[in-house]
Symmetry: D2
Subunit: 323 residues, 4 copies
């Protein structure tokens, strides 16, 4: 994955929000708990994602050594030597001993489009507090893709994106999306008869309840939440959502979070990259094919017992193109 952006997206925050974050970052306290200086450095900052979104690390518990400590159920730090710790962490990851990774926890504040939130929430082993549009008024902010992300339905992968559209075509569609979103927000304010700052628009009218007024807003509207999960489930999130089959927009979040994990627990992240995000899962049939190939045998899809799709995926994994 990519180098971590340290841009803090000031333009995404208003003055009050910036001041609140600065106040948090300025405070220091002494603790006996394990700390991760690299993550402390990034704490509370808004890391930009998409056009208006962000990820902020709000709190964390544990570090690489905490994984080792839990695996050993130890009285002390559990650490012997860094090399031994790395070896144990790799062993745990390789053999799917997942519970020690659950002993680290992270809490994020995320701003994200509603359609992304709907995919994200499917990860059930997490704690969530979402901004309530029954209680509060949403921001006038909508996700619009970059023109070169505006693409046709994929032919190969029936649920994803394929080739980008021509820029003129893309621009036309983006204009439609933007105009509809702006109009929906205008009508939202009209129905509420109130602006986000609390100002009443027309004192002679009664505003509509917030829980109803918001139902006309598009799925591209931004929401925000506090989201907290353990490292094992976070790695599972990254594995599924940083995958090329995931929709680009949630992938953008997963990649920023992967960068956070690399800062936080570098040994666990390396083991994850080697054993889970990288590499490949061979089926029983796929493994049989590999053994035959290694024995110098010529194997074809027809005599592999695999379907055409499976065969293609295997050949891709083995770097043999359309072999």
């Amino acid at each position: 994955m990519r180098g971590m952006s340290t841009e803090t997206a000031p333009q995404r925050l208003n003055a009050e929000q910036r001041a609140e974050i600065d106040a948090l970052r300025a405070q220091r306290a002494e603790t006996r708990r394990p700390t991760v200086p690299a993550l402390e450095e990034a704490l509370y900052q808004a890391m930009p994602v998409l056009d208006h979104g962000f990820v902020r690390v709000v709190d964390y518990m544990g570090d690489d050594a905490a994984i080792v400590q839990a695996a050993r159920v130890s009285y002390g730090r559990g650490t012997k030597q860094s090399r031994q710790d790395a070896g144990l962490i790799r062993y745990l990851m390789r053999h799917a001993h997942t519970t020690p990774f659950e002993m680290c926890e992270i809490k994020l504040h995320v701003k994200l489009p509603i359609f992304v939130a709907r995919q994200w929430i499917r990860h059930r082993t997490a704690n969530v507090n979402e901004y309530s549009a029954r209680y509060s008024i949403l921001d006038r902010e909508f996700y619009l893709p970059e023109p070169d992300r505006v693409a046709a339905q994929s032919a190969a992968n029936r649920q994803g994106r394929g080739e980008p559209l021509h820029h003129a075509e893309a621009r036309g569609l983006l204009d439609l999306l933007r105009e509809d979103a702006e109009r929906a927000y205008d009508h939202y304010e009209h129905m509420l008869n109130e602006r986000q700052d609390g100002a009443v628009i027309d004192p002679s009218r009664t505003g509509l309840s917030r829980e109803l007024a918001r139902i006309g807003l598009p799925l591209s509207a931004y929401t925000q939440w506090y989201w907290k999960t353990d490292l094992h489930n976070l790695l599972r999130f990254i594995e599924l959502r940083a995958d090329p089959h995931a929709q680009y927009e949630i992938r953008a979040y997963a990649e920023v979070i992967a960068d956070v994990v690399r800062l936080w627990v570098p040994l666990a992240y390396d083991a994850f990259a080697d054993y889970r995000a990288g590499g490949a899962r061979l089926s029983a049939k796929g493994l049989a094919v590999v053994k035959r190939l290694l024995a110098g045998e010529a194997v074809t899809q027809e005599d592999s017992g695999m379907s055409r799709a499976e065969w293609r995926e295997l050949m891709q994994a083995l770097g043999r193109g359309e072999a």
Copy 2:
């Protein structure tokens, strides 16, 4: 809650869907498993909710006796006499012995507006398969409230609905919602360059991928899912979502599901109605007030140690109005 509607909402289904349901309902097989004739009768039927939604019971496991059987870890049916079963079920409900209720399971097919789905999904102990708008095209269907459900923000309950708006005002807002939704769907089709039946609109254009085209649709658009959960978690869902503090639209679903539960496990439902949905939770302070009142003492909010809001809620629970 209300009597169960046996209307099967035929207008909500097209001919093909009706035929599929009829075919399911026509099939019969023999089983050794416990069956609930009243629920069999309702099986697969679409029970209407809101303007375009429905709830269908697709499958179920267990009955009242299965709760008893699990509580007793018995070899046989677990049933002694119906009266003893009722007594045990009431005891389990009263003492929060929740695990025997987890031994019944139900599977529903639900059609619901996206903003309702977003509240519903917060119940994490459930299994969900949602219709994929990355893979398929959504229906041209949007939720619009009945005019007398179009209400102002509540003054008392800061996240709910209060008084209905005047009908003229309501109609105006409904027109806005309808027009915006129709326009958004027109643009959705234009962006896809394809109708739901697969017909290409303009062969000279390339359609936009489905995962992107849908982001302009409003939160009032309908989605659908298979949702499966156990009886304990279902009762928790009903407790929270059939509550007056819940948004009317999800309450409409919770009430239909409560009717289903009453058909399915009448003893468990009665115990739930008595101990969980009915009655009241008294705080330590509230209980002290009740004891003082029963002792003939005059008690005021000021000397109760309770806040004004707590006092008001207590007096309401005790049926003492603004006492």
Copy 3:
């Protein structure tokens, strides 16, 4: 895995238990729900495991077609043709689309040693009702391994079993285990001052509470529970517990349950056997080694970047012995 035993372990059940089971098996009802005749045939029967344990299927929900139906969020059965269903199920399994498999549910009655129960309960996504030793008296039954299962600590796998002990040695240890267990149960009865049938032993003494008397019983004592889970989590259970790294005693249960799954959802089971239980997971480094080998390169552990343990596991997976 092995052929399914249809032995029904009558010697493990007393006359009353057999009669209760026979009564359940004799009952028949008509249902509109999907049924699986092969599983109906096995329903309620006690399938023997270890020396006194069993697994009984008490109820089930869904079948192979229910997986397809949920994946398609369909109004009808979801089935097109059996071959298409198999293809979709294989696709879902291959791409870790796990939610449709959660739409099938099974409920088991299991009798098992307490040390096995302690491993089993770590699978958290399940519903459990265990026989209460606070409320009831446990049976005089203890697990004793077959002599050829009495083995030394493994040298290779630091948490498992290696070579069997000599039979004379094994017999000596089994005698110790048996005598201690019998004595502990005698003392249990003495402390309770009551037999399991309710007969008081010495009317002049007061018995000890059940919750305390049981603390002297060994971990080899048998307990029983109702355990209910969905197919996805059941397959995960089988994957981890039918694995050679699992302790033999829980593996014995996992293998019987695997046989049940094969009866219940044969298409899903085949896909599981091919993609999850069979085959191999290659790390990024392991995949690089395979590519180099396929390109005809000689690769050694030293230049593979892998640890010795990883290299050995890879060579074993590829069937290259100690290469």
Copy 4:
């Protein structure tokens, strides 16, 4: 609940363990995260429970303000004034808005008898790493109750303890438990042919694998684990396990943990004590009785519609004895 013991149970720890804990307590680091000085003071210390057990706080995330911060999805600390925070926390607790409480997390190291561990593990929403008796050798430590905790089966509560036995009787039973436990441990060592320090006992014999040797140990043997959960689920644990219906031995742990929570999040703990641990739940029928009593009506069990057990529980809750 009781005042917090600051005894650190040095006799429960060996010199190496004490040194490891002292080393942890001596370390200090700077952090931007919220800290709770009162909990920092207790961090890593072994708080004694029962005869050989303990609870150690190993790490924590969040404080009272973090609950408020999550409920408000705020950019800053979320804190306005302490009084407002208390009010919001009480409101959230009263209305069962549980998700903000899930935003605090705690990690404990616990040493506990196996029969207590078996009750504890039923709380599924937690992360656990237990000391492995497949991999390591257990300590020679067993729980034996204090003589005045050795009690008969309760007549009123069919799953609990009633009156203590005579001391002579109690001592006799404790001697039996102690002798059996010691003998079982002697045999454990003999079967392993190895002491916990790794010394081989008889070089001419092969030891039994650890996973088998431990099956003869009693349920009173001590195990240990790392256990991590969020505040909402921790309060639920305390609610159920500090309850008089819970077995005394797990209650002893729940009470120590309640003391920890009071140090950690005093506002949340107070709200919990008032609304959840204290007070009473009235059924619909119970509430109707209270209303009639408040109206000056005489009500009897017979005309209350309640069973005798329910009536007795209600009268007890209202402090009306056997009225």
